[in-house]
């Protein structure tokens, strides 16, 4: 490798925040906990920030290496490669899932007669192009879109309050059914989506120009996105009530649709769609690019072939992972968190931490 592409800490921060908010801000997470969804998200965030400590611990011991090489270095060549391959498939599968979410929501709400393949194809083309240009370009565009995203995201509460929509009593009573529904929503659902998904950034920590800052940047990104998510969902619930939010496929769109100030500032659904497209792009791009980088690390193939392969696979998979929306959501809420997120976000990193710890102790002796 001639030179390693570098990104600045503000670029990593922007990427991580966009990634976390990406689809979560529009889809609405944790709504199974009814009016306590905001609490479930905060709990998930706390859990996520602890998880991030373990990711950071692993990275700290091999600061020069990307995750896929790190696995080989710490576990041995063959098992490391196998595990890295599993992670690559995991990233690709999640990329396909996010792409499907993205397409479904766009088709349901904005483009009812467009085939979902068309919506998915165009975003995938942009993602493939972004991956071809590499992490530096993704980072820079992340920085720019961070500003756009935050501006639009901030408009929502501003306009909602200006229109006098939020009703505090919709958030009461807190903990109506006790802690149980909140805890079962937080663990595993909101912990793994979106917070635990930061595991994918293990692929890019070694690209950070100032290596000492990974922990600070990561935790700050998790905190900020957790607080934003939590307050947005609380705002949604206070505007429309927990019943409607739990039932809505696209809560932010519904509450934005209600904004009308003096019959003049209204019909703001486009803000929600813009947020979805920007956030969705970065989420899909990060996952796809991580898979591409991983493959590049363990297979000796030209980058552009890998991009074509991964791009087509993710695109085709996004269309075929489920035959309808209910099936897609069922898999996403019931199976994926337990069978995929838990091992890949929590299980394997923790085992890796333990292995590294033991090895370090022996090395000292």
């Amino acid at each position: 490798m001639t030179h390693k592409p570098k990104i600045t800490s503000s670029q990593l921060f922007s990427l991580m925040v966009l990634f976390e908010l990406g689809s979560a801000i529009v889809i609405g997470v944790g709504t199974k906990a009814k009016q306590d969804a905001w609490l479930a998200i905060l709990l998930g965030m706390v859990g996520g920030s602890f998880l991030f400590l373990s990711y950071h611990y692993i990275y700290k011991n091999y600061p020069e290496l990307s995750f896929s090489i790190l696995l080989q270095r710490s576990l041995g060549k063959i098992p490391g490669k196998a595990l890295a391959l599993l992670y690559i498939f995991y990233f690709m599968y999640i990329a396909a899932r996010v792409l499907r979410d993205f397409g479904e929501l766009l088709v349901t709400t904005a483009l009812p007669e467009t085939p979902i393949a068309a919506a998915n194809l165009f975003i995938m083309l942009v993602v493939a192009y972004g991956s071809y240009l590499g992490i530096e370009v993704l980072g820079r565009s992340g920085e720019i879109f961070f500003v756009v995203f935050m501006f639009l995201g901030f408009l929502f509460p501003l306009l909602a309050f200006a229109a006098g929509l939020p009703k505090g009593e919709n958030l009461l009573p807190i903990l109506e059914q006790g802690w149980k529904p909140v805890l079962t929503t937080a663990f595993p659902v909101t912990l793994t989506f979106p917070f635990g998904e930061t595991v994918v950034f293990m692929m890019f920590f070694s690209n950070l120009g100032s290596p000492g800052k990974v922990l600070k940047v990561g935790e700050a990104a998790i905190m900020l996105s957790g607080l934003i998510l939590s307050s947005i969902i609380a705002l949604n619930i206070s505007i429309l009530g927990p019943t409607i939010i739990e039932n809505a496929t696209f809560p932010l769109l519904k509450s934005l649709g209600k904004v009308s100030i003096g019959n003049f500032i209204q019909r703001l659904d486009s803000i929600a769609i813009t947020l979805l497209i920007v956030g969705g792009f970065f989420k899909i791009a990060v996952f796809t690019f991580a898979a591409i980088c991983g493959m590049q690390d363990i297979l000796n193939i030209k980058k552009r072939f890998i991009i074509i392969f991964v791009g087509i696979t993710v695109f085709v998979a996004s269309l075929n992972i489920a035959s309808n929306v209910p099936e897609h959501l069922e898999i996403g809420l019931k199976l994926v968190p337990i069978y995929l997120h838990l091992p890949f976000q929590i299980g394997i990193p923790l085992i890796l931490c333990i292995i590294i710890m033991i090895r370090n102790r022996f090395a000292k002796k």
């Binding site: 349901t108 009812p112 467009t114 009593e169 009530g241 019943t243 409607i244 209600k258």
Partner: protein
């Protein structure tokens, strides 16, 4: 050379994307609907759509010869089916995003509106910013087809009429889809909808001839509140009771309330601000509710013998006002208890303040509500007397 070819091919391919949207619908292919009316028809529904006739409402080209709106109507097993069947009558596809009002026929409302709420929330073409009304003693179709003055589009007349009456008379309550959904899914609150009636004949009202006279022979009139139990209409409030309902809920923005003066005669107060505070609690195992209202107003008209320059007399009027408003609120609460429908959300208040007790109350809330003791209190303040103090009549008789 090779590069040039590649560039040309790319450019040609890119032109494919410049043709516009996939499922584009040009404005002149759309029938923009301003209102929907839904009535019961046998086992299914009759759906009436009021479509705007764009050439008639444009300021320059309107001929005044044709109706500003066109009414299409079709029946079907479901609302969606009926709505799409309208394409048999309409040359354009009905576009629903700009709906201002949805009117539900009384017969349908008595039968239950839950199934309609599903369609209104599921279809992505609907925004949730339209008002929902219940037609009283008439079909939704008749309400929509009567043409109106001042506002050319009947749907706009209804929507604005509703807004303005809510703001300055306060016997109505403009309900949107989210409020209706929340209320009918809640265990502790039942929905209300504002009613709409028709005075005069719908068939003469739908002709342009009707618009040519200064006093319209038929006109839509925004009415009183319809009380629902879950999703079924169970009764209507009178105007007095509707006002009482809005006083309890703190919805009154402005209204005129007339009181009997202590010394005889009448006096009207223009209510300008109200704030209501509903509390629910459990006392000795029994639910209790408390409604506290504070209000402010000015004297707007006086036929009294009282000397309005004296503060103690103003205090007397305040007391009388408090009594009148209290009475209205009790009327509304009594009517709701008779109908067995908690439209005030007392149950919801108890749920918020005492979720544990609510778990047990929830199942039998309707019966509990019927014998719920509600404590009503009003605190009225009169601030100003207008541009004169005593009425000219009174000043004259004193001389």
């Amino acid at each position: 050379m090779k590069k040039g070819m590649a560039l040309i091919i790319t450019l040609i391919m890119l032109t494919n994307f410049l043709t516009g949207c996939w499922s584009k619908r040009e404005l002149n292919e759309l029938a923009i609907a301003s209102a929907i009316g839904i009535d019961k028809s046998g086992d299914g529904y009759q759906v009436t759509v009021e479509v705007i006739n764009p050439s008639e409402i444009s300021a320059e080209k309107g001929t005044g010869q044709r109706s500003p709106v066109v009414i299409f109507s079709a029946t079907g097993k479901t609302v969606f089916e009926a709505l799409r069947r309208i394409t048999l009558e309409s040359p354009r596809r009905v576009y629903l995003s700009h709906i201002r009002v949805v009117v539900l026929g009384e017969e349908l409302a008595r039968d239950g509106i839950a199934k309609i709420i599903d369609f209104l929330s599921r279809d992505s073409e609907f925004r949730i910013d339209f008002y929902i009304l219940a037609a009283k003693n008439t079909k939704a179709e008749s309400v929509l087809k009567v043409l109106t003055q001042l506002e050319k589009i009947p749907a706009n007349k209804i929507a604005q009429g509703l807004e303005i009456s809510e703001k300055s008379w306060s016997s109505t309550h403009a309900v949107k889809l989210d409020e209706l959904t929340n209320d009918f899914t809640s265990d502790g609150k039942n929905p209300v909808l504002t009613g709409i009636t028709l005075s005069g004949n719908a068939d003469t009202g739908m002709t342009l001839e009707n618009l040519k006279s200064s006093k319209l022979s038929s006109i839509q009139r925004i009415g009183n509140l319809a009380v629902f139990k879950k999703d079924r209409l169970v009764g209507w409030l009178s105007e007095e009771e509707s006002l009482g309902y809005n006083y309890v809920m703190g919805n009154v923005k402005s209204t005129i309330t007339t009181v009997e003066c202590p010394g005889g005669g009448k006096l009207s107060v223009e209510v300008l601000r109200t704030k209501s505070n509903i509390k629910g609690k459990i006392e000795n195992g029994k639910p209790k509710a408390k409604v506290e209202l504070s209000m402010e107003g000015n004297i707007g008209e006086s036929e009294c013998d009282l000397d309005l320059t004296k503060p103690e007399n103003i205090r007397q009027i305040e007391d009388a006002l408090e009594e009148v408003v209290k009475e209205k609120k009790k009327l509304a609460i009594g009517k709701a208890q008779n109908l067995g429908s908690d439209i005030f959300g007392f149950g919801e208040t108890i749920r918020r303040e005492n979720p544990k007790a609510w778990k047990e109350l929830k199942e039998k809330w309707n019966e509990e509500f019927e014998r719920l003791s509600v404590d009503v209190s009003v605190d009225a303040k009169i601030r100003r007397t207008g541009t004169i103090t005593n009425s000219p009549e009174q000043t004259k008789s004193k001389k």
